[in-house]
């Protein structure tokens, strides 16, 4: 029988993990949205999505701080430059790697995105070898405190609220885009049968470019919002190394083809991690582990969900 080392505290064991979990989960969801978008259209796991975020964050940082020969500009303009960098990187990936390999087996395209990731990390390292961080929203706006309020002593950070709000807006926006716009429907059509899409007159090349452009935009947004202290950083490969793997799990958990699923999967992953870290001493099995409680908890939940529902929480089998 396990002996509890510390008594249950609502602040430490309930409120803090909820707030942390939602904040981290929103980060996973943000990257997960881009992963789902590309999977829906090209049926591939895009390993470069983390570096679309990385490039966006890096460009924003370099222009905001006037790095090297670059002009120092206000954060808003720097963020626009960061978003453009994310979009252009994704478009270049589509044009140079995806389009020439489009009719090859999907695994070839996946490996292609791995190559893009390694290349981008290398280039980022050459351009900007040291680390940095973007300012939080309260610093940009000039607020007195970094938090809106405290719940039982736990601060509710503006930055976390912004991340959650952006994630929710993007998830709903992307859902509506696919449900109610011609371009969104065309992307789905291309993903299901590219030959049939050509037959009805859809330009595969144009749709592919639009899809990757949107993925780059989502990546850029994620990079600018997530490369902030305390956890976030502008460092070559940081997004691929820390968030991408969990974002993949979140997207799979949510149902890989479902944009709301990426949202829900991301939040769920974040909450599981946070609760496992905070409450592992109360959970038989987890309490006996020396470390990595959150990783084990995430893996167990992911496996259980996929065993019971292979298409993920909100995915659909056809």
């Amino acid at each position: 029988m396990t002996t509890l080392a510390t008594p249950f505290s609502a602040q430490v064991n309930l409120i803090q993990p909820i707030i942390d979990g939602l904040a981290h989960g929103a980060a996973y969801g943000l990257l997960g949205l881009g992963l789902v978008l590309i999977y829906k259209s090209n049926r591939i796991f895009n390993f470069a999505q983390g570096e679309f975020a990385g490039v966006g964050a890096l460009m924003t940082y370099m222009i905001y701080t006037g790095y090297s020969f670059l002009p120092k500009l206000p954060f808003g303009l720097a963020a626009v430059a960061g978003l453009l960098a994310g979009i252009l990187t994704a478009l270049a990936t589509e044009r140079a790697v995806i389009r020439p390999l489009f009719h090859r087996p999907r695994v070839v395209l996946v490996v292609g995105t791995v190559g893009v990731t390694l290349l981008l990390i290398g280039v980022e390292g050459l351009v900007f070898p040291r680390g940095g961080a973007l300012p939080t929203v309260d610093a940009v706006v000039g607020l007195d405190t970094p938090y809106l309020t405290k719940i039982d002593g736990v601060p509710l950070l503006y930055q976390n609220l912004l991340t959650l709000a952006v994630l929710a807006i993007l998830a709903v926006g992307a859902f509506l885009f696919f449900r109610h716009t011609n371009t969104g429907t065309a992307i789905l059509a291309v993903s299901q049968d590219s030959t049939a899409a050509r037959v009805v007159g859809i330009s595969i090349e144009r749709i592919s470019m639009i899809t990757w452009g949107i993925a780059g935009l989502l990546g850029g947004i994620a990079g600018i919002i997530l490369a902030v202290p305390p956890a976030g950083t502008v460092l070559p490969g940081a997004f691929t190394g820390t968030i991408l793997t969990v974002a993949f799990s979140a997207a799979v958990l949510g149902g890989m083809t479902s944009l709301p699923g990426a949202f829900a999967g991301g939040l769920l992953m974040g909450l599981i991690e946070a609760f496992a870290n905070a409450d592992y001493s109360f959970i038989p099995g987890l309490s006996s582990l020396p470390s990595a409680q959150s990783e084990v908890a995430v893996a167990v939940v992911l496996l259980l969900v996929l065993l019971a529902r292979p298409q993920g929480l909100l995915g659909r089998e056809v």
């Binding site: 011609n182 429907t185 065309a186 789905l188 059509a189 299901q192 049968d193 030959t195 049939a196 899409a197 050509r198 037959v199 009805v200 007159g201 859809i202 330009s203 659909r316 056809v318």
Partner: protein, 232 residues
Amino acid sequence: MSLLEIENLRAGYGTMPVLQGISFSVEAGETTVMFGLNGAGKSTTVNAIAGLVESWSGEIRFDGQRIDRRPMTDVVRSGIALCPEGRRVFPGLSVRTNLELGAWTRRSVTKEQMDLVMSYFPRLEERADQLAGTMSGGEQQMLAIGRAMMSKPRLLLIDEASLGLSPALTQIVFKVISQINADGTTVIIVEQNVGVLPYADQAIVMEKGTITFDGRGKELAATGDLRELYLG
């Protein structure tokens, strides 16, 4: 001037030639049926007309304009629609969305055209909200033809309309195609089923990438045992 004119068309896949320089024309308002064994080049011919397969040499003229080597989007916009072999409906999209995508090059879906397609295939209206991938083979064939009709084509190309269908369903599909033709759309059907011959104004028989018969459907019917002579 014929609606469709093909001169010395050569085409194939990769480096493998299929069409060995075929020539034929199709008159506006008629139904042309292309017969032949597997590998004869029938599907390659309609795919080349639609722009799905690139022409190597020769000319394809539609309404006097050259359309070979033009992007498929332009070919569809010019008034040619292909109902491809194997139906190729979008399985994860609803019947209604499949039909709406058929009107992609027109940028808007007219209620008139949707109603017309539904009148050809009332089953599609009953299943409008159903995912296309969950329908039977016959229903998917109806959807594929209906989707092609959504672009208001002047020339409809149908590749293997009866493949995998029961004899009864095949006759229903042939009758609807006949009605589509009677309503003013020129039709080219690729078939191995000789049951379509009564609907053919023009008949073309292909063998090994060449045309071995090009004449009126009645002439081909009068040649005797069509299956034995041309279809093996």
